[in-house]
């Protein structure tokens, strides 16, 4: 294993270490966000560090006074970390309109978490049509103004520069995912997803250097074990590294995914020939969508099946947060479409902090047996 890959385990262990050390080193401002649709390039262009907050495996205490037990663990553990002071390296937080839970979490966070800056980006729910696009651009411009009030001017050329840096990152991640499609044994599912996940945890140009190192290492690795059962992962955020480790241990590997800290995070490039704000708006729109966005003309099942076919996956697993409405409503229709296409699938519902790998192992093994036998 090369130096690049060795860093990965540390990132899983302490995801916010890079942000804390960046802040210490530069004295710059760190802005947290939950949703991968956050216009990160704008924050980056203002000289601040955007960092994704994603909750963690923990037993909550303080957030229990603000959020009911039927709220997803992402919100409950994330808020708990903030209230316990574990996110004190943040100067502010940005909430993007996604689901009802995040919408309310934004209010509760603004009133209780005590960060200096609080931004809401109320993106349209419709992700098609001129009306929604026009609104999206205006809302992003409006948000940019709020951000500028706090962080200072964001000149167009700085934003254009940030877009380039981000696009480079997306291309690199895309290349690594591509390598794995060809030769999945070259990098484990855990490491592959950590690469994408960690992109949202550190300064982009640093991450680019890191990815370049990793890519070099991977390119010099010859053909690896290709006997594992190829699976496709579906869900919102996947941060259960032990689960992915178990997946590999039972003879399977995740060759591609639809997680918002995986493929969806780096999917599609921001156009470099448009005015910067319009360009940011355009990419959010074009990117593989999440079920919080309404699209009448794009069939999510067909798109996912297309990706499954292209990745030559033999089966799929849904890794969903318990109480997640957007994904929960899409599940029956996606499952039916997968069944029809002959893709066996598995539904796994989890809550951060009470994931039983042993309980999940039996299901995953049974899926693998179903495919193998």
């Amino acid at each position: 294993m090369g130096a690049g890959l060795e860093k990965l385990a540390a990132l899983r262990e302490d995801p916010y270490a890079p942000a804390r050390s960046w802040k210490e080193r530069t004295g710059g401002k760190v802005i947290g966000y939950f949703c991968s649709l956050a216009p990160e390039e704008m924050i980056h262009a203002a000289g601040a560090l955007p960092v994704r907050i994603s909750g963690e495996n923990r037993v909550i205490s303080k957030s229990g006074a603000h959020l009911q037990s039927y709220c997803c663990s992402l919100a409950r553990t994330g808020l708990d970390m903030a209230l316990e002071g574990e996110l004190s390296f943040l100067d502010g937080t940005v909430f993007v309109h996604t689901c009802d839970t995040m919408q309310r979490l934004s209010d509760i966070w603004r009133l209780n978490a005590g960060f200096v800056f609080h931004g809401d980006v109320v993106l349209p729910v419709r992700f098609e049509g001129d009306l929604a696009r026009d609104y999206e651009v205006k809302e992003l411009s409006y948000f940019k103004e709020r951000l500028e009030e706090y962080l200072g001017d964001i000149p167009d050329d700085a934003l254009a520069e940030s877009i380039k840096t981000y696009n480079r990152n997306r291309s690199l991640l895309s290349e690594i995912y591509g390598l794995r499609l060809e030769n999945p044994g070259v990098l484990s599912s855990v490491d592959a997803l950590t690469l994408a996940h960690s992109s949202a945890l550190m300064e982009k140009s640093e991450h680019n250097t890191f990815l370049e190192e990793v890519l070099e290492e991977l390119k010099s690795t010859g053909p690896a074990d290709g006997s594992k059962v190829r699976l496709f992962g579906v869900g919102s955020l996947m941060d259960q590294w032990d689960f992915l480790g178990m997946l590999e241990a039972v003879g399977a590997t995740m060759v591609d995914d639809d997680f918002c800290n995986g493929r969806r995070y780096f999917d599609a490039l921001t156009p470099e020939d448009l005015a910067p704000v319009e360009a940011v708006a355009a990419r959010l729109w074009e990117r593989e969508s999440c079920p919080c966005k309404h699209l009448t003309k794009r069939d999510r099942a067909a798109r996912l099946l297309d990706r499954i076919r292209r990745s030559d996956a033999r089966g799929a697993f849904f890794f969903l947060f318990k109480f997640c409405e957007p994904h929960g409503f899409d599940y029956p229709y996606l499952k039916a479409a997968f069944d029809k296409a002959g893709i066996p699938s598995l539904l796994l519902e989890i809550e951060q902090g009470s994931v039983s790998i042993e309980q999940l192992r039996t299901r995953v093994e049974a899926l693998v047996e179903t495919i193998k036998i």
Binding site: K322, P344, E349, S354, E358, A366, E369, T370, I373
Partner: protein, 260 residues
């Protein structure tokens, strides 16, 4: 050549020894807190009954949640695949397996060769499992094994609508306070389990014939309630608890044959 299958569940460990096409011995013991020991003991007991030594067995397959803990040489296969194969071995026309065990419940759709087509399992909630029945028996101060027969005498089952074990327990207590008979309450509990299991099982294609396995299959009241809910006859094999171990030994037999 003899082979064996061992199924270490949350409450009981089972072993089956097969020779050729025939089951020649079986065992069943409580798992206790040491699943490794329980697996070994179940295997030894079954081998003893068959009059065999461990070295005389060609292949062993371990299944159940304790399969990873076993210290004897064995292939490990999940209980889902094993239940499917065991059910198919006993009744080749089985297309749906409902397995209600001590801590989990599952439904498996299988094809004409006993291959798993799809399956669903309960989440962490224990409603619909043996554990649920145990809690209810305790609340009613009756024996777990008596529940099945007892409930058959009910004319108007009490309504138990809660899906949560804790809530259902308090519902049972309030039904008692309202003066409902134990017979009707037990029948109501069985209906509640049937609804829960049906809602889970209906997520996979339900085809005749349905075979019910696991310890709860010994409760005739639950079987009848499930039949009413599924509007189909449910077949219970002679030894429902041994289905997983039997399936494991069927797989062991195939592995032994393939190795020759």
């Amino acid at each position: 050549m003899p082979v064996a299958g061992v199924d270490i569940g949350s409450l009981t460990a089972k072993a089956v020894v097969m020779d050729g096409n025939e089951m020649i011995a079986r065992s069943l013991i409580p798992t206790g807190h040491n699943s490794r020991e329980a697996g070994r003991r179940a295997l030894e007991l079954a081998l003893e009954e068959a009059g065999l030594k461990e070295s005389e067995v060609d292949a062993v397959v371990a299944t159940g949640y304790g399969r990873l803990a076993v210290d004897f040489e064995a292939e490990r296969v999940t209980e889902i695949t094993c239940h499917a194969r065991g059910a198919h071995f006993m009744h080749p026309d089985t297309r749906t397996v409902i397995d209600l065990g001590g801590q989990d419940s599952k439904a498996i759709a299988i094809d004409e060769r006993g291959k798993v087509l799809d399956f669903v399992m309960n989440d962490k909630c224990s409603a619909g499992t043996g554990r649920f029945l145990e809690v209810m028996a305790h609340a009613l101060e009756i024996e777990l094994d008596d529940m099945g027969e007892l409930s058959l005498g009910s004319k108007s089952p009490a309504s138990i609508s809660s899906v949560c074990t804790v809530f259902a327990e308090s519902e049972v207590v309030s039904r008692v306070a309202e003066g409902a008979s134990k017979v009707d309450i037990v029948a109501g509990i069985h209906q509640a389990i049937a609804s829960r299991v049906y809602a889970m099982a209906a997520r996979i294609p339900i085809e005749t014939k349905i075979l019910m396995t696991g310890g709860v299959a010994r409760n005739i009241g639950v079987v009848r309630a499930l039949e009413a809910k599924f509007s189909r006859e449910i077949c219970v094999p002679e030894m429902p608890q041994h289905t997983g171990a039997l399936g494991a030994s069927v797989i062991a037999r195939e592995k032994a044959a393939a190795a020759v």
